[in-house]
């Protein structure tokens, strides 16, 4: 009798969990890709852990707090490693709707990944899309910071060059006027244009030669 019951249960379970069955999900693991030499072998103990994680995720969903490990069925485990799983309700006759399972797995994806030292790419749930990490944008984009630094340096350098240019020009202008100063101490105001003092005759402080002036007046205008 007991054997009959056992066979019945196994048969029902076999029907519930099949590749492509309703509410069943395929899972694919790439342990060697993720861990390389430190890869562990996939055996029944790992399967037990997986069932435990799925049951844990389901228990976090409302109305499903009574999910047990035995309610999670695994089948078709291949060498890949890939397998199918379903979650049944307490009666063990029906499977839970795919939407609920999907929701539960998505909420706890990180915990499941970490339990197996894998990530979203190496532990794939084939019909459950993973939520991507949002890009961590710093409050000020880095390029603006570096741009600000470079631009400030350039502007300061331009201003320095312009100022030094003005100073150089002023020194050059003052140069020839200083030469005149040593010759003539009398004059105070000299109009300098292009380094050449204007009206050098006037600043000589000489006297007007009347004879010269009258000679000029004698000439008939053109």
């Amino acid at each position: 009798m007991l054997w009959l019951l056992f066979f019945l249960v196994t048969a029902i379970h076999a029907e519930l969990c099949q590749p492509g069955a309703e509410n069943a999900f395929k899972v694919r693991l790439s342990i060697r890709t993720a861990l390389g030499d430190k890869a562990y072998a996939w055996d029944t103990n790992e399967e037990y852990l997986f069932k435990a994680m799925v049951a844990f995720s389901m228990r976090k969903v409302a109305n499903r707090e009574k999910t047990e490990i035995s309610h999670v069925l695994l089948c078709n485990v291949t060498q890949r490693v890939s397998f199918w799983f379903v979650v049944t309700d307490p009666s063990e006759k029906h499977t839970l709707p795919a939407v609920e399972v999907q929701e539960a797995i998505r909420m706890n994806r990180n915990r499941i990944n970490n339990a197996f030292f894998l990530n979203d790419q190496t532990l794939e749930f084939l019909k459950i899309p993973s939520t991507l990490i949002p890009p961590t944008d710093p409050p000020v984009p880095i390029w603006i910071i570096i741009f600000g630094v470079i631009f400030c340096i350039v502007i300061v350098a331009i201003i320095l060059l312009i100022l030094s240019g003005i100073r150089q020009r002023r020194r050059k202008d003052k140069g020839p006027s200083e030469v005149d100063d040593t010759e003539d101490k009398c004059e105070n105001t000299i109009t300098i244009e292009n380094g050449i003092p204007c009206d050098p005759l006037d600043t000589k402080g000489g006297h007007v030669n009347d004879a010269f002036m009258t000679e000029d007046e004698r000439l008939t205008p053109l």
Partner: protein, 616 residues
């Protein structure tokens, strides 16, 4: 034809206030920096790759010997002799030929406007390289964070970063969009850097050139060491440099070699004339010309080695990942254990499976992974720098450092070329005395930079990339060839070959040999004429079209081939021919002025004849 009297060779005191180079090295570095530009990195390797690898070097060096070096020597000699910028030189040779100088000046301004936009893009990438991971390494997630942005998914993260996040390009040149503010900000910065370096003419350029001309060589050497040690580099080098001699039968190869050497040396811009006008009069310009031209070509070759080794690495990498994708398909479909098929076993396993279960294998949709296919992928211009190279850098360890070095190198390369460009614009303005003498030089350079900046704002629009291609293809190419032709003809036949040879003998101490005379008189003009005719023939054959980045296109990510709308075609024609029309326009204007002056002189003579007394 009335020739203006040449300057007295011994008493050339007109250059007493003319700025001077601090030393010969500054002058050489400035010319080298002007000649060596972005084209050496992203045009020459592409031509080498497309035209049979090592075989391309044959037409390249022939063009260098018969066209590049003679024209270059001529430009340096005439600038050094007449000690003026391009406009001044041509007005001195003959007032009727002043249009050549004016045309060169116009073309240089047009090129300066759009060249700095490329520098802006390089600066943007440089600023974005200071982070890990690099922003073009991964696609951004879409709005509900279940996958990546579709445009990025279908193309690649590097293409997405270039076309969408940098340029934000529209699908059509008609659709201008708005200004991309990030690019505008970078444009301001790059014009500020250019202004900083040319603020006092060669006084400041000469100091800046030490860094901007030498830094690229340092980076190229670092990249050479890195590149040669990358896996797959040697295969890339051998494959890409292996000469395929039969390609030399294609006339297109010779045309492209001649064109490349012409643009690579930056001839007919007026920049070299400007630089050599600041030289002492007795300087061996022949040695300078040969040295600089050879340095330019060697740099191209050096850069090609580096580019090919990086391309080889990238091809090996892509090939490996193609194999990995196929292996994953096989493992997933046939449930083999994870990592059970290595890249070396793949071929054997695939063959075995094809025999045992061919239908299942066919249904998988495996890609064909051949290393030669990846090696044959070539790119030039912005595609090489911003898409191919950025992707290759992603796979190098320490990627942000390499990105910073690479874009820093591109920026300094472009900057030293901009110096020559702006010098070609500013020196003629200074010589012509456009501004009164009391206006300091800083103001003149500032005004020049500001006007170029305002004109280049157009390229920061969303359709700016398409406009840049228009300018690159039509403003530069045809005009420069025509101006170079007119330059050679003008100097040889108007200025006089004997007079020119005398000048060169006075400057360098030796008369030009038969090689120079033959190339100046016959070979170079013929080559330039051939290039011009071939260009026109090629342009006339197909209606001008451009490749647009259109996410809505059904064959996206292949770019859509659009024909230019009518008004853009008109702009292309204007850009190609307006600078050249300046030559006859100025000649005509001079003719009219002379005619009117002759008439006025004749009238004055008639009025003055009755009065004989020499009163004054």
């Amino acid at each position: 034809m009335a020739l203006a009297p040449g300057p007295d060779p011994l008493g050339d005191g007109s250059g007493d206030e003319r700025p001077k180079w601090d030393n010969k090295l500054q002058y050489l570095l400035s010319c080298v920096g002007f000649a060596v530009g972005l084209g050496n990195i992203w045009r020459f390797p592409y031509l080498c790759q497309t035209y049979g690898g090592g075989a391309f070097l044959i037409p390249y060096f022939i063009a260098l010997a018969f066209e590049g070096i003679p024209l270059f020597h001529m430009e340096l000699a005439i600038g050094q002799r007449l000690r003026k910028g391009s406009i001044g030189v041509w007005t001195t040779i003959s007032p009727y030929l002043g249009g050549i100088g004016l045309g060169c000046f116009t073309v240089s301004s047009l090129i300066g406007i759009y060249y700095n936009t490329v520098l802006t893009w390089v600066l943007w990438y440089l600023l974005n390289s200071f982070q890990n991971p690099l922003p073009w390494s991964a696609c951004p997630p879409d709005r509900n964070r279940t996958g990546f942005v579709e445009e990025c998914q279908r193309s690649s993260s590097v293409s997405y970063f270039w076309y969408r996040q940098t340029l934000n390009v529209t699908a059509d040149i008609n659709d201008s969009g708005s200004i991309q503010w990030q690019l505008l900000v970078c444009l301001v910065a790059s014009w500020a850097v250019v202004y900083l370096c040319i603020i006092r003419g060669i006084e400041t350029t000469g100091k800046a050139i030490y860094f901007t001309a030498l830094f690229p060589y340092l980076v190229l050497t670092i990249f050479l060491i890195r590149g040669l040690t990358l896996p797959g580099a040697t295969e890339g080098l051998t494959y890409l440099f292996t000469p395929k001699m039969q390609i030399l039968q294609n006339p297109r190869v010779w045309l492209d070699a001649a064109t490349q050497i012409f643009f690579s040396l930056s001839l007919a811009f007026g920049g070299h004339i400007a630089f050599s006008s600041y030289n002492p009069p007795r300087n061996n310009c022949k040695k300078d010309a040969v040295t600089i031209a050879l340095v330019n070509s060697m740099t191209s070759l050096y850069a090609a080695i580096i580019v090919f080794s990086v391309l080889g690495f990238k091809a090996a990498n892509d090939h490996g990942r193609c194999l990995d994708r196929n292996i994953l398909h096989l493992i997933n479909a046939f449930d083999f254990p994870d990592q059970s098929i290595s890249r070396d076993d793949y071929a054997a396993v695939l063959a075995h499976l094809n025999v045992t279960q061919p239908e299942r294998v066919a249904g998988l949709g495996l890609e064909s992974c051949r290393l030669e296919d990846f090696l044959d992928k070539s790119a030039s211009g912005t595609g090489l720098a911003f898409i191919v190279f950025t992707e290759a850098i992603l796979h190098m360890p320490g990627a942000p450092g390499w990105a910073v070095l690479f874009f820093g190198m591109l920026f300094t390369l472009g900057l030293s070329s901009m110096f020559g460009n702006m010098e070609a614009v500013i020196t003629p303005l200074l010589d012509m005395g456009v501004m009164p003498r009391w206006v300091p030089k800083e103001v003149l350079t500032g005004v020049a930079c500001l006007s170029c900046f305002l004109a280049s704002i157009h390229f920061t629009l969303h359709s700016g990339n398409y406009w840049l291609e228009v300018f690159d293809r039509y403003a530069a190419s045809l005009n420069l060839v025509i101006f170079a032709f007119l330059e050679v003809v003008g100097i040889v036949y108007v200025y006089g070959m004997n007079r020119f040879c005398d000048d060169v003998a006075w400057m360098t101490g030796r008369r030009p040999s038969l090689y120079w005379r033959v190339t100046w008189k016959v070979v170079s003009p013929l080559l330039l004429l051939t290039i011009f005719v071939a260009y026109i023939a090629l342009l006339a054959r197909v209606p001008p079209s451009y490749r647009a980045w259109n996410p809505q296109y059904d064959q996206f990510p292949t770019q859509q081939e659009n024909v230019y709308p009518g008004w853009v075609q008109v702009t292309c024609v204007l850009l190609s021919f307006l600078p050249v029309l300046l030559v006859p326009a100025v000649a005509l204007a001079q003719l009219l002025v002379r005619h009117r002056r002759k008439k006025k002189d004749a009238l004055q003579d008639m009025h003055l004849k009755p009065q004989d007394s020499g009163a004054c």
